[in-house]
């Protein structure tokens, strides 16, 4: 139990909680979607498409919405990105497709609402059409996919499409990865993550095994022996620590754990402080801060060590935090956690500024204190190897090393998503999973190295 009296569950009524965690950006209605689709200029060599890590043919899917061909629209999206529904909701479109939209040159800040249109088409598919893809003739090959987040799901689906059988492992009870446990609830409201997983699994040939931690319950080497190929998509399972005394105090926790608790439980059962300080400048920090407010915290302050231009949260995310009553404080580094009688009371920060060489300089003499009964750390997630010492999977700079075909240094073992170098975005993870599946399929069909080739050919 928490020793701090000011951390409590149920600060708000059930009605308030359900409103606070409802869809942050409600779906377009059919007339709205038609109007918005007609705004698209149907660019040739469209910049939006290039800005999408999964290269969705955006003009094509929007044209199909405009013409009323919703099944075709959804198929265009989903054949590039089977998690197009969650990407439509969680993508920072303001720095991806919508930033590239040529409409910004006509009317600044008024791109075509590509994300909202993508959601419209994929929602239609899930509500009316079900799984649009079928499996190629079965190959008899089995692939182990470790990690059931976006990268793993995208890989599993594409492998299943190509006729391979997949066993999808995850340490969590439910598949979905960050979509199920890491993203703010109001971004994927109405149990969307699980509904999307169910939609994706309708293709068949994918078996989910939850509660399996690779590296503890089974080794990568064992999987590599048992399966024809292995895809590692374990994400970033570790979190950074502040390195301050008192980090074990009740009330000091990782933002990732806070969000996971919130996503795994009824909102009324999620404890939150009255005064919450979130440390960090990324989307996890924003998601934690806003959700703390929406659970009923009186004061939530997000403190970032540098300026807005350095925050990895986009300006849209930052403004979202601010409109949700989160105070954003910049140029401040945590100095010490304050407590009384073993209970957290606040946190001290040193003010900083950019030094002459561009590096930030903090002045320990110039400090301030924020009263807090909950401190959420969101200062970055780190890769934790799932493979054992001695398993020959090269890691560099804290990420698994892969080649252009997503191959790790261990034969037959591939990796993608946040556990390899690249943008830590859901949509980039989907691309990795999809492309790794293509590479695995190609290798299996070529009979590459380990074991027999695929005898059957696709029609």
């Amino acid at each position: 139990m928490n020793a701090t009296p000011d951390i409590a569950c149920g600060r708000l009524s059930a009605l308030e909680l359900s409103q606070n965690f409802a869809d942050a950006h409600p779906a377009l209605t059919a007339p709205q979607a038609a109007l918005e689709a007609d705004r698209c200029l149907y660019c040739f060599d469209a910049p939006c498409m290039e800005a999408c890590p999964t290269s969705i043919d955006i003009p094509k899917f929007i044209k199909a919405i405009a013409s009323g061909n919703l099944a075709g629209s959804a198929r265009t999206i989903l054949e590039s990105n089977i998690l197009g529904g969650s990407c439509a909701r969680v993508c920072p479109t303001e720095i991806l497709c919508e930033q590239a939209c040529v409409h910004n040159s006509l009317e600044a800040g008024k791109p075509v609402r590509i994300g909202a249109l993508q959601r419209f088409a994929t929602d239609w598919q899930m509500d009316h059409g079900g799984q649009p893809f079928t499996r190629a003739p079965l190959t008899g090959r089995r692939v182990a996919v470790v990690g059931a987040g976006p990268a793993g799901l995208a890989c599993a689906h594409r492998l299943a499409m190509h006729g391979h059988d997949v066993v999808l492992f995850d340490r969590h009870a439910q598949p979905g990865g960050l979509n199920s446990y890491g993203v703010a609830a109001y971004k994927l409201a109405d149990d969307f993550a699980q509904r999307e997983v169910a939609f994706l699994m309708e293709i068949g040939g994918i078996t989910f095994q939850g509660g399996v931690t690779v590296g503890r319950d089974v080794t990568v080497s064992a999987l590599a022996v048992e399966y024809d190929a292995v895809f590692l998509a374990t994400g970033l399972a570790g979190v950074r620590a502040l390195g301050l005394a008192g980090e074990t105090l009740d009330g000091v926790m990782d933002a990732v754990s806070f969000i996971e608790t919130l996503r795994s439980n009824d909102k009324k059962d999620v404890p939150v402080g009255r005064r919450v300080v979130v440390i960090g400048g990324g989307n996890t920090a924003v998601d934690a801060a806003v959700q703390a407010r929406r659970l009923g915290a009186d004061e939530v302050t997000l403190v970032y060590r540098r300026g807005v231009e350095h925050m990895s949260a986009t300006s849209v995310e930052r403004e979202w935090a601010q409109t949700n009553g989160v105070t954003v404080r910049l140029w401040a580094a945590p100095q010490g956690l304050l407590s009384e009688d073993g209970a957290l009371t606040g946190i001290a920060f040193a003010r900083g500024r950019a030094g002459a060489d561009g590096r930030v300089v903090y002045d320990p003499e110039d400090s301030f204190t924020l009263a807090a009964d909950m401190v959420l750390k969101a200062i970055g997630q780190v890769f934790l190897p799932a493979h054992a010492e001695g398993e020959h999977i090269a890691v560099e700079g804290g990420r698994i090393v892969v080649d252009g075909q997503y191959r790790t240094s261990m034969p037959g073992v591939y990796a993608g998503g946040d556990c390899i170098v690249g943008e830590d975005l859901t949509v980039a993870a989907v691309r990795d999973g999809r492309d790794a599946a293509e590479a695995i399929d190609k290798a299996l069909r070529a009979g590459d190295g380990r074991g027999r080739g695929v005898e059957q050919e696709n029609g």
């Binding site: 109007l35 007609d38 200029l41 660019c43 060599d45 469209a46 040529v102 040159s105 006509l106």
Partner: protein
Amino acid sequence: MADLRTVFAGISSPNPFWLASAPPTDKEYNVRRAFQAGWGGVVWKTLGEDPPVVNVSSRYGALAYEGRRMAGLNNIELISDRPLATNIAEIKSVKRDFPDRALVVSLMVPCREDSWKSILPIVEETGADGIELNFGCPHGMSERNMGAAVGQVPEYVEMVTRWCKQYTRMPVIVKLTPNITNILAPARAALAGGADAVSLINTIQSVIGVDLDAMAPMPVVGGQGTHGGYCGPAVKPIALRMIGDIARDPELSALPISGIGGISNWRDAAEFLAMGSTTLQVCTAAMHYGFRIVEDMIDGLSAWMDGKGYAGIDDVTGRAIPRYVHWNDLNLKFRTLARIDQDACIKCGLCHIACEDTSHQAIARLRDGEARRYEVIDEECVGCNLCAHVCPVDGCITMEPQPVDGVQTWRDHPNNPSRVTA
């Protein structure tokens, strides 16, 4: 301020904007509202003989294009379905209260001298300023040998016009159907019959679309559809051409024209005037937005005329006609080239793909890393204008006329086997 007053076939109106004979001018209530809104005149919805016709329920079909409603409108409504006496009493009442406005009555009765002879005095008695002969309705009435069935036979046009001129002192305007190969034939027939003016175009025979669930043409009337008459912004080019053909014809040049066909704003109005119209008739735009649209039509036309130094409508009427020539008179040595304003370009690539796929491969698609650049290849550009039309940015692609060295038309071109030689 430009003087917008017009005198058309002896009929005065404070401005050239009239409402065409159509549903908006079906009864006193609407016409009063139109005059209150500022319309210069109305052509009352076509009167026929009693008993009145019967109209169907479900009457209009519309063409929407990429989100714009009513780019074209199709109707299967017939002439006035109210008793003649009701219309006559209302016309009289409105004209009495709005003596300064033009009130013209559209008429359509069977092609018999008696029918025309009997209705004309009844109309004349209302004090109406003139009549317009509906020789254009392309549906329903034409199957009863009226409307377009008359308008398509020049001899009938001349005959009926002559009867009207014989039995009334009111000015006679002949409304022409576009559902004909050569508009000059009925226009000449109208003139020969003594018409004071012509008005055009009436609606174009059309099937606006097919209801793919009912599997019937739209509008669907109890599971079936029929062809109707097409009007609205989409028909404007057809109207401009037919009006221009009449206006430039030496025999017809004195015949006043009331222009009709998709006029939606002052700019359209100016174009119709320039191609030879003196008054302008509007319907679809009013049906789309209400009578208030006339305010900007009057205001915009007046401001444009002031800017150009045109004092009155007569200064604009027919102004483009000397430059409306036959293709054979165009200078084949003229050359214009597309120019892309790189600062205005938003990199949509539409000019490139249009030219690449469907024209002359004259717009190069260049990439410098992330940056896109589209450039005209002058040697390949034939000056077709397609790129300028597909470009979504006004003024980004312009056509730049090149220096011209003399004149050579097809008439004297060496490739022309029947060229004129000295």
